[in-house]
Amino acid sequence: MIFNSEISGQQQHTTSPVVTGGSVIALVYNGGVIVGTDTLCSYGSMAAFKNVQKIAQISKNTIYASSGEYSDFQQVVKELAKIDRSALQYDDGVHPSPKDYGNFLARLSYKKRCKINPLYLQNVIAGFHNGERYLGLIDIYGTYLESNFITTGFASYFCKAIISNYWNENCTLDQAKQVIRECFKVLFCRDCRAHDVIQLAYVDAQGAHIEESERVETKWDFNGFKSRANEKLHTQ
């Protein structure tokens, strides 16, 4: 049910997302963690905003990305940045570790889920702290999982096989990047709401690095497409 809030003043609950971001893929590699997203925000099935950054740096050694409602992503970035700034307030140089952010986000998501007004997101927190790599997945219900690799959205269906076959937790940064690029290639071909421009970001001992967006290479000049052999009318 949707109430007209001007008349009844009732709080509305997020029942379906409006502007959405696509899959997030995150992997650990030998020197840190890497996260990849595409740069598209869809308005339903319309590819509305094609150059959106969906990875945010929230502290020196932690980055955050999510798929789902983009306005919720923006709100979460603000909430997490507030925590990082608390170090300034207390003047004690203590910064939360990536795991602290992950747990905080899990508590926040769970609280909102209990009020039937969720943050419509699958969240990924990635970081490198005290020599340890961290990847956390927090879903719309507040479920909290740590893992060596994380996929959200359609990537969970299409990309796990690619990751299994071509990635291991001690690969190099370049190898991990190639695996992610390969995954987004497949996603662009098979997921209607995916885009071929992606962005990668990684966190290592030196801190967080968010790279410029790049276009994945896809091939469209197949003979089959040119001859349109698939499209011949079948007569009975």
């Binding site: 207390y90 004690d92 203590v94 570790s97 602290d100």
Partner: protein, 248 residues
């Protein structure tokens, strides 16, 4: 301390710029029995002398665990200490619930100090009559803080508060340069030596009237039990800080 003009409430300054009610509250801390703390690179040790109200009574505990990584020793009004202890425990629990990690020590002391200061700026409230020694370990290192009723807090390498604490502080001033590299056992013996300076002539240290709490980077806060206390008090006879210098 003698009575002064301008000392009726917290909201009256004296012409010399003092808040007498706050000063009087700090007197309450000085009346409590001694407790002290000292830290090395790896450990913090809290020692306190427990008072027995009468022969029929038990000894008043002075050290309380706040969380696995933090503990306090109190001097002053035990009832006020209980309030602060409960507050600190609640804060640590909430922090752990939200972040799954330990509350940074300095931050909690800051919160306690803020709470204490609040009580010094109201016509209807009185300051807390208790001083805390907060021992804690967090990613920033090993900490020992003192809070006082005024709302100030200080970080220390070693500190003693309460009755006759000056004697213990004098001991610390002579030997604190050894503490950083001391082992846990040496630290405990230093703490007990310092407490020994502060007891009356006719009193003796025994496992009933002394309380020792230890905390380490890989050691959750624990109290020494009666047998361990007896052993350490026995070792105290042979212990001298000079022997530690010869070892190094």
């Amino acid at each position: 301390m003698l009575k002064h003009l301008y000392d009726t409430d917290c909201v009256t300054w004296s012409p010399q710029g003092k808040l007498f009610q706050v000063e009087y509250a700090m007197e309450a801390v000085k009346q409590g029995s001694i407790c002290l703390g000292l830290k090395s690179n790896e450990n913090v040790v809290l020692c306190s002398l427990k008072r027995q109200p009468s022969e029929l009574a038990g000894y008043q505990e002075k050290q309380f665990k706040i969380d696995d990584h933090m503990a306090i020793a109190i001097a002053g009004l035990t009832a006020d200490a209980r309030v602060l202890c409960k507050y600190m425990r609640t804060e640590c629990l909430e922090y752990k619930y939200t972040y799954e990690s330990h509350h940074p020590v300095g931050r909690l002391v800051f919160k306690v100090a803020e709470k204490s200061q609040h009580k010094t700026q109201s016509g209807a409230k009185r300051p807390y009559g208790v001083g805390l020694l907060v021992a804690g370990i967090d990613p920033n290192g090993v900490h020992l803080f003192e809070t006082c009723p005024s709302g100030n807090y200080y970080e220390y390498k070693c500190q003693a508060i309460g009755s006759r604490s000056q004697a213990a502080r004098t001991y610390f001033e002579s030997w604190f340069h050894l503490f950083e590299k001391s082992t846990l056992e040496q630290l405990i013996l230093h703490g007990l030596s310092a407490i020994k300076k502060a007891i009356m002539e006719d009193e003796e240290l025994n496992e009933k009237n002394v309380e020792v709490g230890i905390l380490g980077k890989n050691l959750k806060f624990t109290h020494l039990n009666a047998q361990e206390l007896r052993d350490y008090i026995t070792k105290l006879e042979q212990f001298s800080p000079n022997s530690q210098i010869q070892q190094e």
